[in-house]
């Protein structure tokens, strides 16, 4: 069960762990994630440049000791690719310095570290800078599984297929890949809900669509009629689960 990226890890260096903390409920961490959080030397997480808040840290908080060395890294969501990349490289350097000094470090990510997470970029950057660092990831519950549990509605059954798409660019991905598919998850529907709803209608999925906002957190909400989302600005943490009706 060897899932390090390096074939010859540097025994003097620390290990990097990408840890999924789930979408909001601190009880949705796995036992493995909690154990790693207890034994690493440093816990890194992303924050916006404007504030020092990290939702991932808040979710993990009940499982961190008071003495835990928590370090927030700024990953400003910039549209300028260059600015973004240089910020990523800077943060990778900060983490790498600790790893090379022999300290084990966890990087917390919401949901799962390999599902629509920024953790993959970080892992590539660190591995690119020092291929002898041991890099691992530990799965977390993604938002759509917690949302399906909240709705108490099977996400996919039998021999059916499931499409998981990002709604960040609107309904384009759904139009491209959603024709005839029986089950769909649309993440990040906060920005282009009208176009996403239009795509749900075009692909015949509107009737079986339900929304979930802030799953497992304060203000959690089920939206039975996703058209209603057009009349307000949906919460940033909103997704739609669609099941084609017979």
């Amino acid at each position: 069960m060897n899932n390090q990226t390096s074939n010859r890890p540097d025994p003097a260096a620390g290990t990097f762990y990408g840890i999924g903390v789930g979408p909001g409920d601190p009880e949705l961490l796995t036992l493995k994630a909690v154990r790693i959080l207890h034994h690493v030397d440093i816990v890194f997480a992303a924050s916006s440049i404007k504030n020092s808040y990290s939702l991932a840290v808040e979710i993990a908080r009940p499982h961190l000791s008071e003495a835990a060395d928590i370090r927030l890294l700024s990953f400003q969501m910039s549209n300028r690719a260059e600015e973004k990349e240089s910020l990523w490289a800077e943060n990778a350097d900060i983490i790498l310095a600790e790893l090379e000094a022999g300290r084990n470090a966890a990087f917390l990510t919401l949901g799962d570290p390999l599902t629509y997470s920024t953790c993959g970029y970080l892992m590539r950057l660190i591995a690119g800078k020092n291929p002898d660092i041991q890099i691992c990831s530990r799965p977390g519950i993604p938002s759509f599984l917690a949302a399906a549990a909240l709705l108490n509605q099977p996400l996919v059954e039998g021999d059916e297929s499931l499409l998981i798409s990002s709604g960040a660019p609107g309904g384009a991905e759904l139009r491209k890949h959603g024709k005839g598919i029986p089950n769909v998850v649309m993440l990040k529907v906060y920005k282009h809900i009208t176009d996403i709803n239009q795509a749900l209608i075009e692909t015949g999925l509107m009737e079986g669509s339900r929304g979930v906002s802030r799953c497992g957190r304060e203000g959690e909400e089920i939206i039975d009629n996703v058209v209603e989302l057009e009349n307000r600005k949906p919460d940033y943490w909103s997704l739609i689960i669609a099941k084609r009706q017979p």
Copy 2:
């Protein structure tokens, strides 16, 4: 945060919990799943009719007390729909009798209870027989997330889409929905691997395909070249993760 199915649950009846135990590693249970296993009166799980073994129980075993009341239900995989349905109905009755007697019951499922699980059928049957029973499900780590962590490879990033399909009927679902999609998970590839590999070639995904067998369990294996799976009978617990190469 109310995810019961009933709007007026019978306060004298027990609650039914569909619990995901993850794909194999007992440390991949969530804290929530472990807590529920500690407080329910009965733990149900499926076994084949031929033996009294349940993989889900073995995964949960380290978290069950010695006094735990574990009950295996036979859900023989029959191809005859009638036989299957009558077995399901019988098992739902067994569970329902306990719930109606006021006992809380968990039903263990591998991975996640709402992702390719039989738990959904059970929940529908129980709700159909007694709509006043409180029915909940608690998410688990699905095999494909644990496999992605083992490969240390992002499953889906940025604004891309991900198709999750069953290989049980062969490559048909991939041919139908996989054209142009950048990321694919094919579950249950043990039976029709040659046809699945053919479909991976047809959809241009073969080059970026890797297999995982028995993720998180004894005999766990990464298969870097999935064509090799054709020269042996793949383990029942095998899946393929495909990433379209640029």
